[in-house]
C-alpha cells in the first residue's frame, strides 16, 4: 500500500537522488548576511530607549496624584495594598472557579505599602520638624487608630461631593498626621531622595525594584505614560514598542484575547465581571492550551493533516516533482 511505502520512505534514510549541498558554507553565508542586515538596521534606525520614570518626575508633573496615591497607600486602599499574594494577604488574587494558583502560591515577596512606601522611607531621612512630629504621632498610635486616620482622610479627599481630590478642600483636623506625612513624602520625591531610598532603605546594594514598580503603578503617572505610548493591554499594547519601532508581532495570538469585550467589561456583577477581574488567568489558560496544541501538533489528528488538505508543499517541492517525471 502506498501509504505504508510513504511512511517507510519517511522513516528510512533517503536512498533517492541527491544533490551537492554545502551546509557549512550555507551557514556561514547566512550568518554573514544576517550580520550585515543587523548592522545596517542598527546604523540606520538605532533602538528605542525612553528614560525610566522617576518619583521625582511624578512629584514634579503630577504632585496631586502622588499625594492622593500616598494617602491610599497609608489607607490600604491602593492596588498594591489590596493585591494579595505574592505581596500580602489583603486580597485573594485571581481564580478560575476553584482553581486559585495565586492564592496557593502564597506570599513570597512581602510588601507592606503603608510602611514600605511611606513610613520607612520618611523615617530613613532627616525631615522637617512637622513631618518628624507626624511620624512620631503615627508610629506611636495603634494599628486601629492609624487605619481610622488614613481611611477617614482617604474618603474625605476623594469624596466627589466634597474635596474631590483637592487636598486644600479637606476639612482641617481630618486624618491626624496623614496629610503631613503625605506632604512630606511628596517633598521627598521632589528632591529625588525617594527614588534611591525606596527599594531598600538603609541598604548599600539594591537589585530589586519591586517596591518602586508597585508604588509607581498605583498612581496615574505610569499608567498615563503607558497610554501615551499605545502600550495598554486592550489596545494591542503587548505587541507594541515605544517610539516608532517594531515590537513583538509574534505576541499577536496572546494580545488578541485582551481585546475581547468579555475581558474588558465595566460590569460589577455576573460572568463578564468575573471574567474581567480574572482575565489574566483565563487568558493564560487559553494560551497554555494553544501552546500545547502547537507543541504536540504531530499527534493531533485533523490539525496535522492540514498540510495535506491545503497542499502548499507542492510549491516547495515542485522542482523535485517535475524532475522525476
Amino acid at each position: 500500500m502506498s501509504a505504508t511505502t510513504q511512511e517507510t520512505l519517511e522513516r528510512e534514510p533517503w536512498t533517492g537522488p541527491t544533490r551537492h549541498y554545502d551546509i557549512v558554507k550555507e551557514g556561514v553565508i547566512a550568518t554573514f548576511v544576517v550580520l550585515v542586515l543587523t548592522v545596517v538596521l542598527a546604523a540606520i534606525f538605532s533602538s528605542p530607549d525612553d528614560p525610566a520614570l522617576t518619583f521625582q518626575g511624578w512629584a514634579k508633573s503630577a504632585p496631586d496624584n502622588l499625594y492622593a496615591t500616598t494617602v491610599a497607600e497609608l489607607a490600604g486602599t491602593s492596588d498594591s495594598a489590596t493585591y494579595g499574594p505574592p505581596y500580602n494577604t489583603n486580597g485573594d488574587g485571581q481564580a478560575m472557579g476553584p482553581i486559585a494558583p495565586q492564592k496557593w502560591a502564597g506570599v513570597h515577596q512581602p510588601v507592606d505599602p503603608p510602611n514600605d512606601f511611606v513610613i520607612n522611607p520618611l523615617s530613613s531621612q532627616q525631615q522637617p520638624a512637622d513631618v518628624a512630629d507626624a511620624l512620631v504621632t503615627w508610629t506611636s498610635a495603634s494599628a486601629d487608630v492609624q487605619t481610622g486616620w488614613a481611611t477617614g482622610y482617604d474618603t474625605a479627599l476623594n469624596d466627589p461631593q466634597g474635596a474631590n481630590g483637592d487636598a486644600t478642600k479637606v476639612p482641617a483636623g481630618v486624618g491626624g498626621p496623614v496629610p503631613t506625612l503625605a506632604t512630606g513624602l511628596v517633598a521627598m520625591a521632589t528632591s529625588g531622595a525617594l527614588d534611591s531610598v525606596l527599594p531598600a532603605p538603609g541598604q548599600f546594594f539594591t537589585t530589586d525594584n519591586t517596591k518602586q514598580i508597585l508604588f509607581l503603578g498605583d498612581g496615574s503617572y505610569l499608567d498615563d505614560a503607558g497610554t501615551a505610548n499605545h502600550l495598554q493591554g486592550n489596545e494591542w499594547g503587548m505587541m507594541n514598542e515605544t517610539g516608532n519601532f517594531p515590537g513583538q508581532q509574534w505576541l499577536a495570538p496572546f494580545s488578541f484575547w485582551y481585546q475581547l469585550p468579555i475581558f474588558n467589561s465595566d460590569a460589577t456583577t455576573g460572568v463578564a465581571a468575573t471574567m474581567t477581574a480574572n482575565a489574566d488567568l483565563y487568558i493564560l489558560a487559553i494560551i497554555a492550551v494553544m501552546m500545547l496544541l502547537v507543541i504536540f501538533l504531530p499527534y493531533i489528528p485533523g490539525l496535522r493533516s492540514i498540510p495535506r488538505w491545503i497542499p502548499l508543499h507542492k510549491l516547495v517541492w515542485r522542482d523535485y516533482y517535475r524532475s522525476r517525471k
Binding site: 519517511e10 541527491t18 530607549d49 494558583p101 502560591a105 525594584n209 509574534w250 493564560l284 501538533l297 491545503i310
Partner: protein, 229 residues
C-alpha cells in the same frame, strides 16, 4: 619469514561493555560523521524556504555576540554611551530578525508537515525553543532599565502572579532577571537548539509528502503485450 603476528586493524571490535563504549556505539550508529557533515542533500532540498532555519541560527549568533558585549559593559552602559547604544541596536534588531526568520521557518515546516517519519521530536524541540525564546525576550525587555522595562514589568507581573509563577519569578527584580536573561535561558535555548539541529542531521530532511508516488517504479501500462515503444 616474519614471526610478527600481523595486527588486523579491521578485525571486528568486541561489543562495548563500558558506558563510554555504549555511548560511542550509539553515536556511530545514529550520527556518523558522514551524516553529521554530509556533502550532499536529497535532491528535494531545493527551495528558498529551507534557508530560514539557518538564518534563525545566524540571528541567534548575532544576538549572543551583541548580548555578550552588553553583558560585559553592564545594563546601564547603553544609556550613556553612543557605542553602547549601537550595540543595544545590534541586539534589538538581531532579536527582531531572529523572531522574523523563526516564524517563517515554523510556518514553512508546518506546511511541509515536517514532523513525519519519526521527526516529532524535531518539531517539539523547535516549538519549545520558540516558547523559551519568548521568555528570554520578556526577561530581556525588563532588564533594559528604562521606561519600557518599568511598563512591561508592571504589566507582566499580573499574569505571572495569577498563575502562581510570580511567587518566585519576579519581573520587577532586576538582579534575578539579568541572571536569567544572560545565563539561564540562553543555556536552555542552546541545549534545545543543539538537540533540534542534531535531530535534523540524524533523521535527515523530511521527504516530500508525495515522495512515494514519485519514487515508485513505473507500472507497465499494457502488461500483456511485449512492450516495445
Amino acid at each position: 619469514m616474519s614471526t610478527t603476528t600481523a595486527r588486523h586493524e579491521s578485525a571486528p571490535a568486541a561489543p562495548p561493555t563500558t558506558w563510554i563504549g555504549h555511548l560511542r556505539g550509539l553515536l556511530e550508529r545514529k550520527l556518523p560523521y558522514e551524516k553529521l557533515l554530509p556533502e550532499t542533500q536529497p535532491s528535494y532540498v531545493a527551495s528558498w524556504i529551507y534557508v530560514f532555519g539557518v538564518a534563525t541560527l545566524g540571528a541567534l549568533g548575532v544576538i549572543v555576540a551583541s548580548g555578550a558585549v552588553l553583558a560585559f559593559e553592564g545594563p546601564a552602559w547603553y544609556h550613556i554611551s553612543h557605542t553602547g547604544l549601537f550595540f543595544n541596536s545590534l541586539h534589538f534588531w538581531s532579536v527582531q530578525l531572529f523572531f522574523f526568520f523563526m516564524v517563517i521557518h515554523l510556518f514553512g515546516k508546518f506546511w511541509m508537515a515536517a514532523w513525519r517519519g519519526n521527526r516529532a521530536k524535531t518539531w517539539i524541540t523547535g516549538t519549545l525553543a520558540f516558547v523559551v525564546s519568548v521568555g528570554a525576550a520578556l526577561t530581556g525587555y525588563v532588564v533594559q532599565t528604562n521606561f519600557d522595562s518599568q511598563w512591561i514589568a508592571f504589566e507582566a507581573k499580573d499574569g505571572l502572579n495569577a498563575t502562581g509563577v510570580g511567587s518566585w519569578f519576579n519581573v520587577a527584580n532586576l538582579g534575578q532577571n539579568l541572571l536569567i536573561h544572560v545565563f539561564l535561558l540562553p543555556a536552555i535555548i542552546a541545549v534545545l537548539v543543539a538537540i533540534h539541529v542534531l535531530l535534523v542531521r540524524v533523521h535527515g530532511v523530511v521527504p516530500p509528502i508525495d515522495a512515494a508516488k514519485v519514487e515508485a517504479p513505473p507500472v507497465p501500462t499494457v502488461p500483456e503485450r511485449e512492450g516495445v515503444r
